[in-house]
């Protein structure tokens, strides 16, 4: 299928949170493969484990209460879960970078953006301050910030949300990472600004060739950006395939239901109700027995309520975790 070298290979990752109210299996058996230079989408609703997966990759799970209790995360063939804190620090922000939803809370309000980007650069690259400043201005220019020399000495509050997200991208890419993780990076932005940032990310990906893991709840965003998409539900991957396959022939009832339920921007108004998925996401403290989607699934049988389905290859490259996959 994909001849490119495998960059990230997550196998059966399990990250649990031990809270006073009980154990939350936030990530409970997630498998994910990212090739070099590939754009992968990880999609799901709140509580599906998509952000915890990202934080597990960079080993930033707050412990306690969180703990990675099983699985492997291979990056360049080495298991990140076997690295010590010091080794992880050298990878984080260097070969793997991450951008978050709210750029304001990710930036330090009392330092200029130039200082913050230079700091990230000097931390990972052996260059002096003058060189770092030059590189910072280069990066600001690269992410389309006008007048980078002037912007260098500005503080985060002097910039708009879209500009701050550009700063975050500049910082994340300053180390020339192999993997950029984008966790809902455009969710808080307005539509026209979101279009700018997505356009920028697409352009930079082509130019610099890094792999991107896009974590989002927005199916439209991954449709435009990702080559491969994994759909997560209640801590598990339920379906994984090329973007085209996911949108054209979804096999898992959850994926199918989700795609059916979103209003289509290109379709004329009707008074027909949307085909909604009934019920709601299960409480993480009380995961349903068997398939986790069974209480909301229109095709659920006795078997689904008792046994947990494995994720299996339905057709080449198309994985589905379901006893009764939809043929479409």
């Amino acid at each position: 299928m994909d001849n490119r070298e495998i960059l990230v290979d997550i196998k059966n990752l399990r990250t649990f949170f031990y809270t006073e109210d009980g154990v939350v299996p936030a990530v409970d058996g997630i498998d994910l493969t990212i090739h070099r230079g590939e754009v992968v989408g990880l999609v799901g609703e709140s509580g599906c484990g998509k952000s915890v997966t990202a934080l597990s990759i960079i080993r930033l799970i707050p412990n306690p209460p969180g703990k990675i209790i099983g699985g492997e995360i291979f990056f360049h063939g080495e298991d990140l879960l076997k690295k010590n804190a010091e080794e992880m620090r050298m990878i984080r922000g260097d070969k793997i970078s991450m951008i978050f939803q709210e750029p304001m809370t990710s930036l330090n309000p009392v330092y200029t953006i130039g200082d913050q980007i230079s700091e990230a650069i000097t931390l990972h690259q052996k260059i002096d301050a003058v060189e770092a400043k030059k590189r910072t201005i280069e990066m600001l220019h690269l992410v389309g910030i006008p007048e980078p020399e002037r912007r260098f000495s500005q503080y985060p509050h002097e910039m708009s949300g879209g500009m701050r997200q550009r700063v975050m991208i500049a910082m994340a890419l300053s180390s020339n990472p192999d993997l950029l993780i984008s966790d809902e990076a455009t969710t808080a932005l307005d539509v026209t600004i979101q279009a700018q940032i997505l356009d920028l990310m697409r352009g930079l990906q082509k130019k610099l060739g890094m792999a991107i893991l896009i974590i989002t709840h927005n199916l439209a965003v991954v449709a435009e950006m990702a080559e491969t998409i994994s759909i997560a539900y209640a801590g598990k991957i339920v379906e994984s395939a090329s973007a085209r396959e996911i949108f054209k022939s979804p096999h898992h009832p959850y994926t199918y239901g989700l795609l059916q339920s979103i209003p289509k921007f290109t379709e004329k108004k009707t008074n027909e109700p949307l085909p909604a998925i009934e019920g709601m996401v299960p409480s993480p403290y009380h995961m349903p027995k068997g398939c986790r989607f069974n209480p909301r699934c229109p095709f659920a049988t006795e078997k689904c309520r008792e046994e947990e389905p494995e994720i299996l290859e339905f057709s080449p490259g198309h994985l589905v975790r379901c006893f009764h996959p939809i043929e479409s």
């Binding site: 609703e45 709140s46 708009s160 879209g162 500009m163 307005d190 539509v191 026209t192 600004i193 979101q194 279009a195 700018q196 997505l198 356009d199 709840h217 927005n218 199916l219 439209a220 965003v221 449709a223 435009e224 973007a243 085209r244 949108f247 054209k248 239901g257 989700l258 795609l259 339920s261 979103i262 209003p263 289509k264 921007f265 290109t266 379709e267 004329k268 108004k269 009707t270 008074n271 109700p273 949307l274 085909p275 909604a276 998925i277 009934e278 709601m280 996401v281």
Partner: protein, 324 residues
């Protein structure tokens, strides 16, 4: 025959910016700047725009939850702009609002039965028993179990909380409901449930909606007519299909083209707008959009474009249409 339920004319809402030792007004945030629109009985008008466009302020000022700076609000043919709060009270029964944040808009110390019943208490409607009965019926209508009336908001999920918000707004039988981003805070699979509920209730109770939203796919699905706002101004208004199929204002065109489509095969011509939305304290002279407009001309800086009707019900404020 359609009847006009509400109309606003040249509505302005400016917020003062205080500064200096004596807290004098040094500037104004022109949140809503001479906006006109109407809503007919039983229809849904959507106000769309990005953050800071003034859509929420326009909705709240229309309900007189904010005092208008100038302009007129006409409800069922009656000018309500200058009514006192006391004079407004009987009218308030007819107009309700539902908010975006299902967490912040419900009193955490009140059982949901009381929350839903409160409007009945405020307006003194029915006997104690009738109110209780009305709450139970309304809870069922919006898809909540009536036996949950003793529970508190924190025991409910976001989607259920929005159902509580709908129940509270509808319990006194309003004619007009302002929906301020009612689904933006919800998960994707829950959004469609609330959209369906709102549409079903609209038909069953012949409600009129002012739908304030930024998600254009939802707007397309819900609205009869759409008004697009940019920096305090309405730049274009048209019927749903007309607006989405033949947008005329450059901002509307850019906005529509920026919406990502959940179909990897669709490759759309995208208009990427440069820069950010300017501050509403000091909006650009002339046409507010000119600083980001790909077609800006000298006249756009000097003169504010007039709103012109290009087709029945389709109005646009842009110099491109008059300069040809």
């Amino acid at each position: 025959m359609t009847t006009r339920l509400v109309e606003v004319q040249q509505l302005k809402k400016w917020f003062p910016v205080k500064g200096g030792v004596f807290a004098k007004t040094v500037a104004s945030v022109k949140a809503v700047d001479e906006v006109s629109f109407f809503i007919d009985q039983g229809e849904t008008l959507s106000l769309v725009g990005e953050s800071g466009s003034g859509k929420t302020t326009a909705g709240r000022t229309m309900l007189k939850l904010l005092r208008p700076t100038s302009g007129k609000i006409i409800y069922k043919g009656k000018d309500i702009t200058n009514l006192t709060p006391n004079q407004m009270r009987p009218l308030r029964r007819n107009m309700q609002i539902m908010f975006q944040d299902p967490y912040g808009s419900l009193n955490p110390r009140m059982p949901v039965g009381d929350i839903i019943q409160e409007p009945l208490d405020v307006h003194g409607i029915g006997t104690r028993k009738e109110r209780k009965q009305a709450v139970a019926t309304m809870m069922e209508t919006v898809g909540l179990r009536p036996e949950y009336e003793k529970r508190y908001p924190h025991e409910f999920s976001g989607g259920q909380r929005q159902r509580i918000g709908v129940a509270r707004a509808l319990i006194i039988n309003p004619e007009l409901l302002v929906l301020d981003e009612p689904i933006s805070a919800l998960d994707v699979s829950i959004q469609s449930q609330i959209i369906n509920l709102l549409q079903e209730l609209q038909q069953r109770l012949s409600l009129t909606y002012l739908f304030i939203a930024h998600d254009l796919a939802v707007v397309r699905h819900m609205s009869d007519r759409v008004a697009v706002m940019y920096l305090g101004k309405i730049v274009e208004t048209a019927d749903n299909d007309e607006l989405f199929d033949h947008p005329l204002h450059p901002y509307t065109q850019a906005l529509l083209s920026a919406v990502p489509v959940p179909d990897p095969d669709v490759k759309r011509e995208r208009i990427i707008l440069q820069g950010d939305v300017p501050s509403p304290v000091n909006p650009p002279s002339g046409c507010h959009f000119r600083t980001r407009c790909p077609y800006a001309m000298p006249i756009c800086k000097d003169q504010e474009p007039l709103v012109i009707e290009v087709a029945p019900g389709h109005t646009v404020a842009c110099h491109l249409l008059t300069q040809k």
